[in-house]
């Protein structure tokens, strides 16, 4: 069953049913008919027209994947031409949520989605750390055992370079944005970063090598936010 929380403009329900609802909301049908077909228990709400308009007129899209030892979460966000954002996020037990929010709160929303934490500043002698690229790919694998094994292989390298970690927590965050440019080309940007306890590291490719660059937490946050296209880069979908 799909429910709607009017306080937070959020639909919740089984993931496949929610996908079908989103597709129907993005199409032209009258709202009462869409709800009757896909969410019969849900009443119309003033937030729904804005959410529909955004789904039908995406200016840009953002996919944020947060992978750690215990879980992996993939959040899909689009921003509509009306300045309304729509986020699809997984919940427990095959459920998901579809939530509307104002564009102006997107940076704060991204920060909370990845559970961003303040960190320590790298020491001047802590330069980029070269790591096997395939280990990073495995770190973001959908398979938990693969992620944990990849971290076990990477952790000693990081320990040598950064010293002992304050705790055992880690996560890798991939943020990928895509949009149609003003000249009509498909464009995208990508930011990948790792947090190991209170150390933040940016993933960089240089001359065929994969590097982890220790940075301050503010610098890591800037890199996450800068994956968003500037307003003068994005073409109107209308």
């Amino acid at each position: 069953m799909i429910t709607f929380d009017s306080a937070t403009a959020t639909f919740r329900g089984p993931a496949p049913a929610l996908e079908a609802l989103a597709a129907a909301l993005a199409a032209d049908g009258a709202l009462p008919e869409v709800l009757a077909a896909h969410a019969p228990e849900v009443a119309e709400d003033p937030a729904m027209p804005g959410l529909r308009e955004a789904l039908a007129t995406p200016l840009f899209r953002l996919e944020i994947t947060v992978s750690g030892p215990g879980a992996q979460q993939k959040h899909r966000i689009l921003i509509g031409a009306n300045g309304v954002g729509v986020r699809r996020s997984p919940l427990r037990d095959g459920h998901a949520e579809l939530s509307a929010f104002p564009l102006g709160t997107l940076p704060g929303g991204m920060t909370r989605l990845v559970r961003f934490l303040p960190g320590a500043a790298p020491l001047p002698e802590q330069g980029p750390i070269e790591v096997p690229g395939e280990q990073l790919v495995q770190l973001a694998s959908a398979d938990q055992d693969t992620r944990v094994t990849a971290w076990s292989a990477l952790a000693p390298l990081l320990g040598t370079a950064l010293g002992e970690a304050a705790d055992v927590s880690w996560q890798i965050v991939e943020a990928r944005s895509s949009w149609r440019s003003l000249t009509g080309e498909d464009s995208e940007d990508l930011s990948v970063q790792i947090r190991r306890a209170d150390h933040h590291l940016l993933v960089e490719e240089e001359n065929g090598s994969t590097l982890l660059r220790p940075v301050t937490s503010l610098r890591a946050w800037e890199e996450l936010i800068r994956v968003l296209p500037a307003h003068d880069q994005v073409a109107s979908p209308r």
Binding site: G104, T105, P107, G108, T111, P118, L218, W221, I225, R226
Partner: protein, 128 residues
């Protein structure tokens, strides 16, 4: 201290503020204690405060602290505040840039430029 012209300042009106605050007699004279109190006050006053950075750093040539935090400003916008502060005698000196993150490249560059030329001088250094 500085507010960009409306045409340049974006929907939030990005602003840079320098504060010299004489410490009340009951306040501690220890920067770490002041930092802990001010962070607790910020969390109490701002419902959705999210701290991005909070650590010791040399500020204007003296031991200080750097802090960055997010909050939702009244028009419904996420804003980011980058602030540095230091204890100078009986005064707390704070420099804060509050801005709209969609313009973050310009604003982080602005803060770097300001901090590169920011100096806290003692009376003797000023006279010299």
């Amino acid at each position: 201290m500085a507010k960009l012209p409306l045409a340049l300042s974006g929907p939030f009106a990005d602003n840079l503020v320098l504060t010299l605050e004489p410490l009340p007699s009951e306040a501690p004279r220890d920067l770490e204690a002041i930092a802990a109190i001010s962070r607790a006050q910020q969390h109490a006053a701002v419902p959705d405060l999210h701290v991005l950075e909070d650590r010791s750093e040399i500020v204007g040539g003296v031991p200080g602290r750097t802090r960055a935090l997010l909050q939702t400003a009244p028009p419904g916008l996420t804003v980011v505040t980058r602030q540095v502060f230091a204890l100078v005698g009986e005064d707390l000196v704070t420099l804060a840039l509050t801005s709209f993150p969609f313009r973050d490249r310009e604003n982080s560059a602005l803060m770097e430029q300001v901090l590169a030329s920011f100096r806290i001088l003692s009376d003797e250094e000023v006279r010299a």
